[in-house]
C-alpha cells in the first residue's frame, strides 16, 4: 500500500524492487521531482539494485520525465544494478522509440518479462 502523497507503489519479487508509477500524467517539474526523489530513495543505500518500473497507469509523460528516467538509469548502472521498464502504452513507447531511448532502456511488455531480465 503506497504511503499518502506517494507517487509510486513498491513491492518486491525476491531481491527485485517492482515500482508501479501511480500518476497517469507525468508532466510538470514538481511532479517529476517528487517521483525522482522517491525512486532515488529506493536505490541510494543499495549496491547493485535491481529495479522494474511498471508504466501501467501512465498515459502521458513529458520529455522531462524521460530525463528523470535517464538519470535513474545512469544511477542504477553506476551501482552495477539492473533496470527494466514494462507495461508501456503504445503512444508512450513511440516517444521512447523516436528519441532512441529504447536503445538505452530494457523495455518489456509485461512485468513478468521485465523480471526475467533481472536474472
Amino acid at each position: 500500500m503506497p504511503e499518502p502523497n506517494s507517487r509510486i507503489s513498491v513491492s518486491s519479487e525476491g531481491d527485485v524492487m517492482v515500482v508501479e508509477l501511480l500518476d497517469r500524467k507525468i508532466l510538470d517539474e514538481v511532479s517529476i521531482l517528487h517521483i525522482s526523489e522517491q525512486l532515488n530513495s529506493l536505490i541510494v543505500d543499495k549496491s547493485a539494485p535491481r529495479l522494474v518500473v511498471d508504466f501501467t497507469n501512465v498515459d502521458h509523460l513529458s520529455s522531462s520525465a524521460l530525463g528523470m528516467l535517464i538519470t535513474l538509469h545512469n544511477s542504477v548502472r553506476e551501482k552495477a544494478g539492473r533496470l527494466a521498464l514494462c507495461n508501456i502504452q503504445p503512444g508512450i513507447y513511440e516517444v521512447f522509440a523516436i528519441t532512441r531511448l529504447n536503445d538505452i532502456f530494457t523495455i518489456r511488455d509485461s512485468q513478468a518479462e521485465a523480471l526475467a531480465e533481472m536474472d
Partner: protein
C-alpha cells in the same frame, strides 16, 4: 489566452484546448500528439522563456477546426535559436537528461515553426485522411 507561468495554469489552459480537440473527435493518436506537443511547448515556455517566474505571462492562442488544430505558444523571454539545439538521438547525447522536447514536438506534429526571435512556436496537426 494569457496565462501565468505556472504548471497548474499551463495544465488548466491545456485542458481547454484538449476539450475542443475532443469535441472535434480527433483520433486517439492525433489527440495524444497534440497533447504531447502542446505540453512540451508550454513546459519550455515556463522553464526557458519565463525562467520559472510566475509573474511572466505566456500566450496560448489556438484554433481547433474539423480539419486541423493550430496552437501558438508565446513567452516573454529572450528567445533562442532552435537550430542550436543538439540532436538528442546522437550517441553522445543519448544519456543526457535534457534536450528532447523540440524533437518530440517535430515528430508528433505536422508543422512546428519558431518565430525569428525564438520565443514563439506554432504547432499544427492536420486531421489524418479518412478520419
Amino acid at each position: 489566452m494569457r496565462i501565468k507561468s505556472t504548471w497548474q495554469a499551463a495544465r488548466d489552459a491545456g485542458k481547454t484546448v484538449l476539450a475542443e480537440v475532443a469535441g472535434q473527435k480527433y483520433d486517439e493518436h492525433s489527440s495524444f500528439s497534440i497533447r504531447l506537443a502542446m505540453e512540451e511547448g508550454l513546459n519550455n515556455a515556463i522553464k526557458h522563456g519565463s525562467r520559472m517566474d510566475p509573474a511572466k505571462l505566456i500566450s496560448l492562442d489556438y484554433e481547433v477546426t474539423p480539419q486541423r488544430v493550430e496552437i501558438i505558444i508565446t513567452d516573454e523571454g529572450e528567445g533562442f535559436d532552435p537550430a542550436c539545439v543538439p540532436d538528442c538521438t546522437c550517441q553522445e547525447n543519448l544519456q543526457k537528461p535534457g534536450g528532447r522536447g523540440i524533437m518530440l514536438m517535430k515528430a508528433f506534429m505536422d508543422t512546428v515553426e519558431f518565430s525569428e526571435k525564438g520565443n514563439s512556436v506554432r504547432l499544427v496537426k492536420v486531421r489524418p485522411d479518412g478520419e
